[in-house]
């Protein structure tokens, strides 16, 4: 779509244009030692010069002299907590004087929210969450309310982390769809591309300059470098057959010995959508609050059915995570549930690497 150039010194004009259109802006900020999405009012709020160093079970931010705002890969959050809240009230029920029950739906307020700095993997994951929450069975009203007013400003990755493998899953490092605006950051400024009508409206307000040949060449070099820098990969795009042919592979038992069954991987995974229901009755018994909260296939409750925990040991839980994410997702959504963001590798307290585990348990079975 339409592209133009926004010099670095004019970045604040993008924020101003979004504010004028009624959007509250969220963007990357360094908090508690990681990049997280938080409110952005002015360009100075952005993490200028911040770099992330990621490895299995490890995440550190380094402050450099670089003028860039987006020279990092990602933090523990994707868009998931913004649209699928980690814990939220769905409804309340009140006991009436006649003994009847009155239910009140708790609908989230519709808010125009612009998120700046979204990655290609985040967009791919959002598309999958859309399939789940806005599916044929009807929209989830909470997800739908937040999703409808979301304005997405993507930034093509210039600096994938050591754990990124989106090239292998086909989801990055360049954002190709699902954004309203996409930025390619260069030292001198930003190549701006619009991906939707409302994106085009905002871009038109910016009075963008023409993109010079040098800028285009630098952008192409940067994209190539981002691709070749990645060294992890999954053994194939569709591992369904390989995984289900290997349900008794000794690798499951082996990884279970190293796994804490702590659920950090599923919590940071931008595509995981499991939740538990939590009922909190008031002490007087006259009212109760019904909430949902992120759950994980690594918890005991996740596979509890009346009187029985189906997956009581870590072997069964780890196998559930991988065979669903990389296997049965194909039946459910027509693709794997992994977008290669690497979060489950960095934020696993013991550094278990999904690409290594998948390679182990799929040994000897070729990609479909």
């Amino acid at each position: 779509m339409e592209t133009g150039f926004l010099p670095r010194g004019r970045f604040h004009e993008l924020l101003a244009a979004l504010h004028r259109s009624g959007y509250r802006c969220l963007g990357p900020r360094v908090r508690e030692g990681a990049i997280v999405y938080a409110a952005i009012l002015v360009a100075e709020d952005l993490p200028r010069g911040a770099r992330d160093h990621q490895a299995a079970g490890h995440y550190r931010i380094e402050q450099t002299a670089s003028p860039r705002y987006f020279a990092w890969a990602n933090g523990p959050q994707a868009l998931k907590p913004i649209v699928f809240a980690p814990q939220e009230v769905l409804w309340r029920v009140r006991r009436q004087a006649d003994g009847g029950l009155e239910f009140h739906r708790q609908t989230p307020p519709a808010e125009r929210l612009a998120v700046i700095g979204v990655r290609a993997c985040d967009l791919a994951a959002l598309a999958l969450q859309d399939r789940h929450f806005l599916g044929a069975a009807g929209d989830d009203p909470h997800y739908a309310a937040r999703r409808a007013e979301l304005f997405l400003v993507a930034v093509h990755c210039s600096d994938p982390s050591d754990v990124c493998f989106c090239v292998s899953t086909g989801d990055g490092p360049q954002a190709s769809s699902g954004f309203d605006l996409a930025l390619c950051e260069l030292d001198s400024g930003f190549i701006v591309e619009s991906g939707s009508d409302r994106g085009a409206v905002v871009a038109a307000e910016l009075g963008l300059e023409a993109v010079g040949g040098d800028a285009r060449a630098a952008a192409a070099r940067q994209a190539d470098a981002a691709r070749t820098r990645q060294h992890r990969s999954l053994p194939g795009r569709d591992l369904r057959a390989a995984l289900f042919a290997n349900l008794e592979h000794p690798g499951w038992e082996e990884v279970a010995g190293r796994c804490l069954a702590c659920g950090n991987c599923t919590s940071v995974c931008p595509t995981c959508f499991c939740h538990a229901s939590v009922e909190t009755p008031a002490l007087d018994g006259g009212m109760s609050v019904h909430a949902r909260a992120w759950d994980s296939c690594f918890s005991q409750g996740h596979s509890y059915i009346h009187g029985l925990t189906v997956r009581s040991d870590t072997r069964a839980r780890y196998r559930q995570w991988l065979t669903h994410k990389l296997g049965s997702w194909h039946e459910q959504f027509g693709r794997s549930g992994c977008v290669g963001c690497g979060r489950c590798i960095s934020w696993c307290p013991v550094g278990i690497d999904i690409t290594e585990e998948a390679a182990t348990v799929c040994t000897g079975v070729a990609d479909e």
């Binding site: 990681a34 997280v36 659920g263 994980s296």
Partner: protein
């Protein structure tokens, strides 16, 4: 708030054994809800609130503290016999408390070191969980337990349903609170991956590591966490102390801690 006192309220008691009284504060700190609570259940014995009648039969008995003296051993039997539903509250009652450290050492020698007249101290060699002596119907873990846990348990009992038992790992609550992991981002020796939820990931949300005051979660992989702490630079004795802390008497922690402590023997 209407505090109409129900007729035939269930009767409750709060019994204290070897403890600091901190868990009872989760009741006393309820504020206005304490009035509501006492309109729903009748506290016939709650010494800290001024009601003393330890021998009265009750529907719900809250037991704080560990079994630490010969008299305790005998008294907990009487409490059990007089209570329909017995709830052990806090680390002392569920795991023997910090004082269970004496089970791993020569407690009598410590007493001799500390007290001028050790013969005045009449205590057992061990400090143990209530469940090691009598049948416990519900355990609420934590040092101390919080009001939310107590209210949830009482409400469930008043509804006539089994109270919900929390046993997930703190990490799940930590991620729901969107706290940045202090172990991954700062290298702190966090016990969250083996510790039971209930606190709302209180310590990590203040940037410090969890020290396992809610006791072991279900399916805790203490061996792997121990190895991770080693990777963070902790010596075996220090790793041992991570497990042998407030909940040292909880079997998965006792075992993991002793294994580390004895590694360099």
């Amino acid at each position: 708030m209407s505090t109409v006192v129900a007729k035939d309220r269930p009767r409750a008691a709060v019994h204290k054994f070897a403890s600091c009284d901190g868990c009872q504060l989760a009741l006393l700190n309820l504020g206005e809800d304490l009035l509501l609570l006492s309109s729903l259940v009748e506290f016939v014995h709650f010494a800290e609130a001024g009601q003393v009648n330890p021998e009265a039969p009750v529907d719900i008995a809250f037991v704080e503290g560990s079994i630490s003296t010969a008299k305790d051993v005998e008294r907990i039997q009487r409490v059990r016999a007089r209570s329909r539903f017995l709830v052990a509250i806090g680390a002392c009652a569920t795991a023997g408390g910090l004082q269970a450290l004496r089970n791993l050492a020569d407690g009598q020698a410590w007493i001799a070191d500390v007290y001028a007249s050790p013969d005045y101290v009449d205590s057992l060699q061990s400090s143990t969980a209530v469940a090691q002596h009598v049948k416990v119907d519900l355990e609420l873990w934590g040092c101390p337990v919080n009001s939310r846990q107590l209210i949830a348990a009482v409400r469930a009992l008043l509804f006539g349903v089994a109270p919900f038992e929390e046993h997930d790992k703190v990490c799940l609550e930590c991620k729901r609170a969107q706290v940045v992991c202090v172990m991954v981002a700062h290298g702190l020796p966090c016990m969250g991956p083996v510790t039971r939820t209930g606190c709302g990931a209180l310590c990590p949300s203040f940037g410090r590591d969890c020290y396992a005051c809610y006791g072991p979660a279900e399916n805790p992989n203490t061996e792997v966490l121990g190895r991770r702490l080693e990777g963070l630079g902790l010596a075996p004795a220090a790793i041992g102390r991570c497990f042998l802390s407030i909940n040292n008497g909880a079997p998965p922690f006792t075992e993991a801690g002793l294994r580390r402590v004895h590694e360099h023997d």
